[in-house]
């Protein structure tokens, strides 16, 4: 079985995932030609990680279709969180895309992993963003050390994104607080732990004011126009 040779940065990412979630790091690959540090994680390992993340409930992956013209297979993954919110995303892989890595990675498995990763990301469960990347022996001590810094940094990022998405207008944070309460049961992101704040950031990143605020009727009208 052929092994992928990883760069130092890639090895660090794998080590952090292994340390954080107790998974088999050998199964993590780096297949993204546009971002060499973007890991591909097998679906079964992704589920193993997701089960350790707060707010995750369940996920499923199913085949959607095969496109013969482009030799691509499409899978759909659905993630449900503890608030019964459902996130569905697709993943695509081309036959023969991976031709020099592990033999066990076939096209379907690749597409399944991508679909599940996209759905987990949309739901706010991004394992790579949730890991700590500094090399300290005492993880708890390091987390305590950085907690005040990370809280301020995350809050500033959340506010910037909330403003960009139209949830905050200067002093008016009504929509932002309502969105926070609806999605996380709190009115301040400062009270959340680092992992949950990461989910807030992910959800904000994927938040579409048009899709979320405009009624279906108007959306359809806009599409026809």
């Amino acid at each position: 079985m052929q092994k992928q040779i990883k760069t130092q940065k890639q090895q660090e990412i794998v080590s952090n995932l292994v340390n954080q979630f107790g998974i088999d790091g050998e199964r993590i690959l780096f297949l993204n030609s546009r971002d060499e540090n973007d890991p591909w994680i097998p679906p079964s390992v992704l589920e193993q990680i997701a089960r350790q993340m707060e707010g995750y409930r369940s996920s499923s992956v199913q085949h959607d279709k095969f496109i013969p013209q482009t030799s691509q297979t499409v899978y759909l993954a659905t993630v449900t969180d503890s608030l019964d919110r459902v996130f569905t995303r697709s993943g695509v892989a081309t036959v023969g895309e991976i031709n020099n890595v592990l033999d066990e990675i076939d096209t379907d498995y690749l597409a399944m992993g991508r679909a599940l990763s996209a759905a987990l990301n949309a739901a706010g469960f991004n394992p790579v963003k949730a890991i700590k990347t500094v090399n300290f022996r005492d993880e708890a001590e390091n987390e305590r050390r950085l907690r005040p810094i990370l809280r301020t940094k995350d809050l500033k990022q959340i506010h910037a994104m909330a403003t960009e998405k139209g949830l905050m207008f200067g002093d008016d944070k009504t929509a932002y607080r309502a969105w926070l309460f609806e999605n996380f049961g709190v009115r301040t992101a400062a009270i959340l732990d680092a992992q949950t704040r990461s989910r807030v950031i992910n959800l904000l990143r994927n938040y579409d004011p048009f899709l979320n605020e405009v009624s279906a009727e108007f959306r359809e009208d806009a599409m026809y126009a």
């Binding site: 907690r147 005040p148 809280r151 301020t152 506010h159 944070k173 301040t188 992101a189 009270i191």
Partner: protein, 154 residues
């Protein structure tokens, strides 16, 4: 009946509000934000000691902060940002974010008693010494025209 229930989210809401919209338009400095954020984990039952805060600043920001400098940071948090950061010298000593009206009232009583104590001390010092310092001499101190001192007149 006065509300004594702790509002656990209150300090976090105030902190986030100030990060987003600083009260006087003055952003928190890195050290101020660090200390304010650190103190969110303290409480009246488990306040954070100034030594521990200084150590945390050293570990987190790699900055050495003396006791005097830390006092300035706390003063800035209270004066410039109106953060309700309370403190106690008696056991358990330390600092924490206020979480209820009763905590604020207890703190106000303590500060008031310290204020009255200091004002009383000042008043005693001034009453005893101020007239003399202000130049109110005794008659025996006034020199006579011929160079000698006048006798004290009853």
């Amino acid at each position: 009946m006065e509300a004594t229930t702790k509002q656990l989210a209150f300090p976090f809401e105030v902190f986030e509000e100030e990060i987003a919209n600083p009260m006087k338009g003055i952003q928190l400095t890195e050290t101020e934000a660090f200390v304010a954020s650190l103190l969110l984990e303290a409480s009246s039952e488990k306040p954070m000691k100034t030594d521990d805060i200084s150590k945390a600043i050293k570990n987190g920001l790699n900055i050495d902060v003396s006791y005097r400098e830390l006092k300035k940071v706390i003063r800035a948090l209270r004066r410039n940002h109106a953060f309700p950061i309370l403190s106690r010298r008696s056991k358990p000593a330390g600092l924490w974010w206020c979480q209820s009206i009763s905590e604020m009232k207890d703190f106000a009583r303590l500060w008031q008693s310290q204020y009255y104590d200091e004002m009383t001390t000042l008043w005693l010092m001034m009453k005893h010494n101020y007239p003399r310092l202000a130049g109110q001499l005794r008659i025996s101190d006034i020199p006579s025209r011929n160079g000698g001192k006048n006798e004290k007149q009853s």
